[in-house]
Symmetry: none
Subunit: 205 residues, 4 copies
């Protein structure tokens, strides 16, 4: 029970930290602000977390995990690689659509947050690119697309998506991020030579 209460507190702090980091960026966010936004005191924050850096890191982990879960859950509902890709793309767009705070935190603030997070961020990028690559490889193995440098392709896909989302965060156009799907999908598909697959074929999977 005690442990439970403690975990709730931690969650509250992390939630508050996400908002504050998203609003101000890592350096300009103060622990004081996180404390008051989470309804605790500065001492309280330091009771649950050893440092501001660790809060940021845990937030990053949590964000990545959630995102990965969303993506994997979405992909699990399909068998065909292309359908999986489609589902993942939509899942990502919808998640950020719903959680603009998360988008800003993850897309805009993290890269420049400080040297101490950069290797972690590189890992994260590699992880997501790795997921993409893995499925591109599968598609190649299954003969669905022609062989290609899946490493660079995965990076490019990730980058294209990243940029579209970042642009949306910064400029807030179009109103809903999901609206970019219609243009993004064929672009990505064609880029790996998978444009000819009809949607109908995917629906059956």
């Amino acid at each position: 029970m005690q442990q439970n209460r403690s975990r709730v507190r931690q969650q509250r702090i992390l939630d508050a930290a996400l908002r504050v980091f998203s609003r101000k960026g890592f350096r300009d966010a103060s622990v004081d602000e996180i404390a008051s936004e989470s309804g605790t005191s500065k001492g309280g924050v330091y009771f649950h977390f050893p440092s501001k850096d660790v809060i940021y890191l845990q937030l990053l982990d949590r964000t990545v995990a959630r995102l990965r879960n969303k993506i994997e859950a979405a992909m699990a509902e399909h068998d065909h690689p292309i359908a999986k890709a489609d589902a993942a793309l939509l899942a990502v767009l919808r998640t950020f659509d719903k959680h603009a705070t998360l988008a800003r935190f993850f897309m805009v603030e993290t890269l420049g947050a400080g040297r101490q997070f950069q290797s972690r961020m590189a890992e994260t990028r590699a992880e997501f690119a790795g997921i993409i690559r893995q499925h591109l490889d599968a598609a190649v193995d299954q003969g669905i697309i022609e062989p290609l440098d899946t490493e660079v392709a995965a990076q490019a896909w990730f980058g294209a998506l990243y940029e579209v989302i970042t642009g949306w965060v910064l400029v807030r156009k179009p109103e809903r991020l999901e609206e970019t799907y219609a243009a993004l999908r064929p672009l990505l598909m064609r880029s790996v030579g998978a444009e000819e697959i009809p949607l109908s074929a995917l629906m059956e999977s």
Copy 2:
């Protein structure tokens, strides 16, 4: 003479600032460090620039201008839109290859540098995406590629390139950025349905 001396000093400070910002990021870079790295005193820096922000902004401007010049010079040597795209891509890769410092500054540090630079950064992204888009539009007009949402396509191209470069900055793999060209080129071309143009045809332009 005075003016010249002053301009030389300013350049020296900007050069030093680029290195320091690239090493530490905006927030973690101290004016003291910029001063000593440029062989001046803190007061000297503030004699030439009114604030740290302004140094950063001028550096951003200078970087963007240089990059745009490189790109435009490279494109000017070709007529065919695809050849132009090719040349621009190579120019970008080679520039960052030679100036890893510039790459880190521009790719990694700027986005999260602080709220005060975000609108400028959004403009910058829009500017580069705009250049790409303009040429994609031309290609569509000339019947070289099928009509498509060039806005999103341009964003995606920019993002793909951005990500590949960022990955290289963070992980330093492959050793030379230019090596990614071989995989990146067909990917981008195919994404807009321009894969069938043979290189030989372009060489003649």
Copy 3:
């Protein structure tokens, strides 16, 4: 308890600040000095006060309040306007006699402390002059003195007193400020045409 501790600290800081400001003047007093003189750290000072300006302002307020209290307490013991004036004059002289630091702070340093305090200082002067005027008006109403421009008279009284005190602060002559009373009293009284009231008459009130 916490609140109490905090208040004690604030008092200590204000007391130290009074001494430092009195010694050095606003601009030449450093927060560092205030901190060490109050047995705290610089951060401690800034925990309790948001800025050096605010410390100064609070000190000004506190000083004005104390002075006004002394004056009003002294006047409350008498009914006759002239006796009130007498009592107030003595109260002021004695207060500054006991607290030369206060005198220096209030008389010498504040006027030129900076543009940001000037309107407040003007209010303060107006406030004290207002008290004097109010009682001069009462004296006129009661037929004790002939009608006159009480606004200018009040200002002149305040100025005369101010100058005598300032001179004492700067030159420390005579040794005790109260010694000026004997000369000041008839001067002020005569200036408003009240010289003929014998002290014996006042003592009875």
Copy 4:
């Protein structure tokens, strides 16, 4: 000739300094601002004056000398002590009326300008009070007023005048400082027991 040109430059700098000090106070006025306001460069200022303090001091001297001259010239036109006092009072009011900048500099900024000017300021006050006292003594000698503590009286006169002028500088009421004369004069006169002298008698002197 050369010397002349130099003196003109010095005057220009002093004039500019007066304006700047009057606007900003001693500490907030920068040598740069004085330089640009006087149409010179910082180096130029330092060629003519060894330090900012010295500029201030010379300005103080110049101001005091001018004021004293005005006063003495005004008094020289009369023989009767009371008439002299009258003339001096008017001269002071009119001078500051015409030169509000001078008034602000002399009345408001100097006292708190810094420890380094305080002894000089004390001398200055003593000097003016001394002039007043000297004439009060003469008036006593000539049997025009009853004996009294002329030292305190002179201080009080000076203070009363100082305060009225300061109030005018800070609040700018009444519009013209000279308007305070009508109320100030009888007040001062009565304070030393000289109220019964009719103006007509003075006019003849």
